[in-house]
């Protein structure tokens, strides 16, 4: 059909991604559950309106009752009636470093999750399956912490300026050179906030008259940056290269909507690992398409930097490609490096342009020095430049943990989305009551998980998302798996029918080895 050779001409390793279909009975029962809750939601709203029940959520003031109503849309209805019932699974306060084990403050609610009170007890040693701690650098002791505290005593914590004015420390220069060397690009720039890196730099790169082709399931920061830029945005189906190629062809052939002029720039926005699905982008195909249709690629490696690839350099190394093919490599320091912030890497002209024209560089406060030192130490550790093999061991441990955990969960019979090699493991729950029940049952068994429901996922596809870490030992994973097995039997979560559905974007035939199953 197209130039992508099926038998691995572009892919040097098998690409195993699966999204098992929702079983029909489960979908029907999920709708039944949501239907019952919606009916009760209407009943409660009626009672609140007619003052039979005390209204505890935000409403308009008496004088504003005749204005356009603020809280009548579906999101607010969902918030009041469905989210409030299971709210105790989110915003749990932790009181220790979020490493492999974490301490949590216990809280109870006496009025069905409208208010919480702390009992004063601290639950210690909860196995942490929810923090983005892929390489285990969230530690309170060790080389990173010592270096960071030395820098703290030398530079202090605050910078009190933006990068362009008086906030450009020598530590920032050192960090940027190091990050550029780590990624294999000419130059890099670091920002204080990962979300702001995306939302403030995409407007600097594209503007009106440009076209943005963005994946269906891109993160809110990419969507916000794309909308702020004023460019035309077109969405292609998630990880679907046929859809992307069709959009590219249409863009080149038809040009801009009314004037038919050619687009000034075409920018493809993709992520390395999509955190809600656990899927990895089909980078070789995207790069082949980008070269054929002469467009630019913006790769957001928030979750994949440090977590993929034989030496932790991200999804570009995972596929064995050259970093020069990706025009803008963006990533965050929050996930694998145990710090905060984001970076953009690319050609020197691009980064020099961004230093002057990016909103984040001009207006945002620069990164705090201890955070910068934490990143420098952790990057040196991963690269092996601190003289030990700790970094390499961690990357390998993460890969082993990922493979083991995913294999065991699939064998137990849960529906797991995503690629075999991604450390983000979504386990499907589907029914609304099971979202709350799963979170609570796992906490009772001393395991902390993140459950995700409606606004972040489609309404029937709610899930529990596990983030594996190199800090998890095999014993911890075995304990967690045993408890997940128990809770899965208790709540009847083992929906899988062990049927590997071929990916629908190309016809399945025996010669495609991307859809193999072991």
């Amino acid at each position: 059909i197209n130039h992508i050779v099926h038998n691995g001409g572009l892919y040097k390793r098998p690409f195993n991604e699966a999204f098992e279909e929702t079983p029909m009975l489960v979908a029907v029962l999920t709708y039944v559950g949501y239907g019952v809750l919606t009916l009760f939601g209407y009943l409660r709203d009626f009672m609140r309106q007619w003052k039979i029940e005390k209204c505890q959520n935000a409403t308009e003031r008496e004088e504003q009752k005749d204005f356009v109503p603020l809280y009548q849309d579906f999101e607010n209805f969902y918030n009041r009636n469905l989210y409030m019932r299971i709210r105790d699974s989110w915003n749990r306060p932790i009181c220790s470093v979020p490493g492999a084990k974490v301490d949590m403050m216990e809280r109870v609610s006496h009025d069905y999750n409208w208010t919480f009170t702390y009992t004063g007890r601290v639950i210690k040693g909860i196995i942490n399956m929810g923090s983005y701690n892929y390489l285990g650098f969230a530690q309170k002791a060790g080389t990173c912490q010592e270096a960071a505290s030395k820098v703290l005593s030398q530079y202090g914590a605050g910078v009190c300026s933006t990068r362009q004015e008086m906030g450009n420390l020598d530590k920032h220069e050192e960090l940027e050179k190091l990050v550029a060397r780590f990624l294999g690009v000419e130059s890099a720039m670091a920002y204080g906030m990962g979300f702001a890196t995306n939302s403030m730099n995409i407007p600097a790169l594209v503007g009106k008259g440009c076209l943005i082709l963005s994946d269906e399931l891109n993160h809110a920061s990419l969507v916000l940056g794309a909308r702020l830029s004023g460019a035309t945005i077109r969405i292609f189906k998630h990880n679907n290269m046929q859809s992307l190629e069709k959009l590219l062809k249409d863009a080149i052939v038809h040009g801009q909507p009314r004037t038919r002029r050619p687009w000034k720039k075409i920018l493809i926005l993709v992520e390395g690992i999509y955190s809600m699905e656990g899927s990895i982008v089909r980078l070789p195909e995207v790069i082949a398409l980008k070269k054929k249709y002469k467009s630019y690629l913006y790769l957001d490696e928030a979750h994949s930097i440090g977590a993929l690839g034989p030496s932790g350099r991200g999804v570009v190394e995972y596929f064995g490609l050259s970093p020069e093919d990706v025009d803008v490599m963006m990533g965050t320091f929050t996930k694998s490096f145990g710090a905060a912030g984001g970076y953009i890497g690319g050609k020197k002209e691009l980064i020099d342009y961004l230093r002057t024209y990016s909103h984040s560089a001009v207006y945002a406060t620069s990164m705090s020095p201890p955070v910068v030192e934490q990143i420098i130490t952790s990057v040196k550790c991963i690269m092996g430049e601190d003289g030990t093999t700790v970094g390499e061991a961690r990357v390998q441990q993460l890969a082993e943990n990922t493979r083991y955990f995913r294999r065991r969960l699939k064998e137990m019979g849960f529906i797991i989305y995503g690629n075999e090699d991604s450390p983000v493991v979504p386990l499907m729950l589907y029914m609304p009551a099971k979202i709350g029940a799963f979170g609570r049952e796992m906490l009772k068994r001393n395991i902390g998980v993140v459950v995700v429901g409606f606004p972040a996922t489609p309404i029937i596809e709610s899930r529990a998302r596990f983030c594996l870490s190199a800090a998890h030992t095999k014993e911890m994973l075995d304990t967690a798996l045993k408890e997940i097995d128990e809770v899965g039997d208790l709540l009847q979560l083992k929906y899988s029918r062990h049927r590997l559905v071929p990916l629908l974007d190309r016809p399945f035939d025996e010669t495609t080895y991307e859809e193999t199953e072991d």
């Binding site: 029962l29 039944v32 559950g33 019952v36 809750l37 009760f40 009943l43 019932r85 299971i86 069905y112 029914m431 609304p432 009551a433 099971k434 709350g436 029940a437 208790l490 709540l491 009847q492």
Partner: protein, 80 residues
């Protein structure tokens, strides 16, 4: 022992029902309302079935008997 495992199994089934219809998330008065409504509907359906189903079945039985049984009656009358 059998009774105990039976009771556990029934309790587990009840928990599954609660999870599917989200009644484990409801406040006690909502649960009361929901169960009252459900049990009332169930009792009504069962009562209606108890009254009407035997009548319908016997009518259907007589209809089919009439269809195939007419030949029998004819032979009986000739013999008479």
């Amino acid at each position: 022992m059998d009774i105990k495992s039976m009771k556990n199994y029934l309790y587990w089934l009840y928990c599954q029902f609660e999870l599917i219809t989200c009644s484990c998330l409801m406040e006690p008065w909502e649960k009361l309302l929901f169960y009252t409504f459900n049990i009332t509907m169930l009792v009504t359906v069962l009562y209606t079935a108890y009254i009407f189903v035997p009548v319908h079945i016997s009518m259907a039985f007589q209809f089919f008997l009439h269809l195939f049984g007419n030949q029998h009656e004819n032979t009986v009358s000739i013999v008479k």
